[in-house]
């Protein structure tokens, strides 16, 4: 059963920003040691409010899957700065200000698994699609391929990669109807739709929850079957803007 907590469910609630308490209620189910996929590419599509609620909640020893390693002192960088992340699986741990991650990494306080970006995306997609392993030409002959099975198909060499799954996915969308059918905003789509499919429990923050039928069935990017909890954050923070304002969380 895909249980979905629907906030809000009544028409009157539709323009209301949900309280931090509600956000906390959703996030506090995440236990220590969980594997958590966090959507976004840099700050675009990063679910800042969900990440900050995870900081408030305080779950530790997390394994986090994200394309990057945080920027400045908000969002994922803040989660790392709080010492909550034991391991990061990402493709590109660089940013305008990666100092939080760099400090933790050099102090051996965080483990790092580097995955080529396309392989990272495909492993996540495979996790959601019930494909335990697949072959890719990416990284053949490089250090990333070390220890991985190699096979030749049609005269070309490929390496075998495994799916990637998570206990929780924290994602950011634009609109969602009350069934959890979601849309995204431009390049903020990035990893969010595939992470929604690859976690046991997917928690989505969206800018607006609308009635079923308000989103054209042709325009749904993530069908509601993948969404377990929906939180409405009407004016979500944008990581890039927080960093330009030199914000620090908490």
């Amino acid at each position: 059963m895909s249980e979905m907590t629907r906030y809000p469910i009544s028409q009157e609630d539709l323009d209301m920003v949900k309280t931090v308490t509600t956000l906390r209620e959703v996030i506090q189910q995440i236990p220590d040691g969980a594997t958590v996929m966090i959507g976004g590419f840099g700050g675009s599509g990063a679910p800042i409010e969900l990440i900050h609620a995870l900081i408030d909640h305080g779950a530790k020893h997390l394994t986090v899957v994200n394309n990057n390693a945080g920027n400045g002192h908000v969002g994922l960088a803040a989660l790392i700065e709080q010492g909550q992340v034991d391991k990061l699986i990402c493709s590109f741990p660089r940013s305008a200000d990666p100092s939080v991650f760099v400090t933790a990494y050099k102090a051996n306080k965080i483990a790092l698994e580097i995955v080529p970006q396309g392989t990272l995306a495909e492993r996540i997609r495979a996790g959601g699609a019930g494909i335990p392993a697949f072959y890719t030409p990416t990284a053949f002959g490089t250090a990333v391929a070390e220890g991985k099975p190699i096979e030749v198909f049609e005269g070309r060499s490929y390496i075998r990669e495994l799916w990637l799954k998570a206990d929780y996915a924290l994602i950011k969308g634009d609109l969602s109807d009350t069934h959890g059918n979601m849309t995204y905003r431009m390049a903020a789509r990035n990893f969010n739709p595939i992470m929604a499919t690859a976690a046991k429990v997917t928690i989505a923050q969206v800018s607006r929850v609308v009635q079923a039928g308000a989103i054209d069935p042709e325009h749904v990017v993530t069908p509601g079957i993948f969404i377990n909890h929906l939180v409405e954050i009407t004016h979500p923070a944008q990581e890039e803007e927080l960093n330009r304002a030199e914000a620090v969380y908490p």
Partner: protein
């Protein structure tokens, strides 16, 4: 052989019984034909979201005759409708949904079900043209796979068997059988009888079943509404 023609449940009654077990909010795929009837008997107050493997989630009932749009069909190529909450997606995404274990329930028909949960429903093995469709994907990956079926074939042969003699659709996949005579679970490599129609004794039912029926957990009466439209 016991004549069950007068006492067995109708397909509508079997479908009704299967519908009672579907939880509120479940995502459900119904096989082509008989299993589709399950959609007609959803208990009031429960919302069930139906998936069809050709790329529609949360579709509505069949349109009136003459109102069909043949771009909007289900896996059985019958016309359906959209409704608030419907979404469309392509075939790879649709089966990613199936294979990834996101469907709560798949309900299919059967030629044979073995006591270990093996299902044969795509080929009688007697020649003819093979056709698997999406069944092999559904039975291997839906969280719960149930079968709706007559308890015996038209020739009186058991459909619940020790091991399937027909080509398999999936291995160890069926967990519950809604037959025309009983509700039977597959547990630990055995058929476990849960409910049976009152007109038949357990011994009679065993005689119509091709493998041992365990009754260790108690057997309830299988009661369905008489008139189902």
């Amino acid at each position: 052989m016991i004549d069950i023609s007068e006492i067995k449940l109708s397909n509508a009654q079997i479908a009704w019984r299967a519908a009672q077990d579907i939880q509120d909010g479940a995502y459900v795929n119904l096989g082509i034909g008989f299993p589709e009837m399950v959609a007609s008997y959803q208990p009031e107050g429960k919302e069930v979201i139906f998936h069809t493997e050709n790329g529609v989630l949360g579709f509505g009932p069949a349109p009136a005759v003459g109102e069909e749009d043949w771009d909007l069909i289900n896996a059985g190529k019958k016309a359906i409708t959209s409704k608030p909450g419907t979404s469309f997606f392509h075939h790879a995404d649709s089966f990613a949904m199936v294979r990834g274990g996101h469907l709560d329930v798949a309900i299919l028909g059967a030629y044979q079900i073995a006591q270990n949960g093996d299902l044969a429903n795509w080929s009688t093995g007697k020649g003819g043209i093979p056709a698997v469709g999406g069944a092999m994907d559904l039975v291997q990956s839906a969280r719960r796979v149930a079968v709706v079926t007559d308890h015996i074939t038209k020739k009186g042969e058991p459909k619940l068997v020790e091991s399937c003699t027909m080509p398999l659709t999936g291995v160890g996949c069926v967990t519950r059988i809604y037959s025309s005579l009983a509700v039977i679970d597959v547990e630990g490599g055995h058929f476990v009888l849960r409910e049976k129609i009152a007109a038949l004794s357990i011994d009679d039912l065993q005689a119509l079943t091709g493998a041992e029926l365990l009754t260790t957990k108690g057997v309830d009466a299988l009661i369905c509404p008489e008139a189902l439209g």
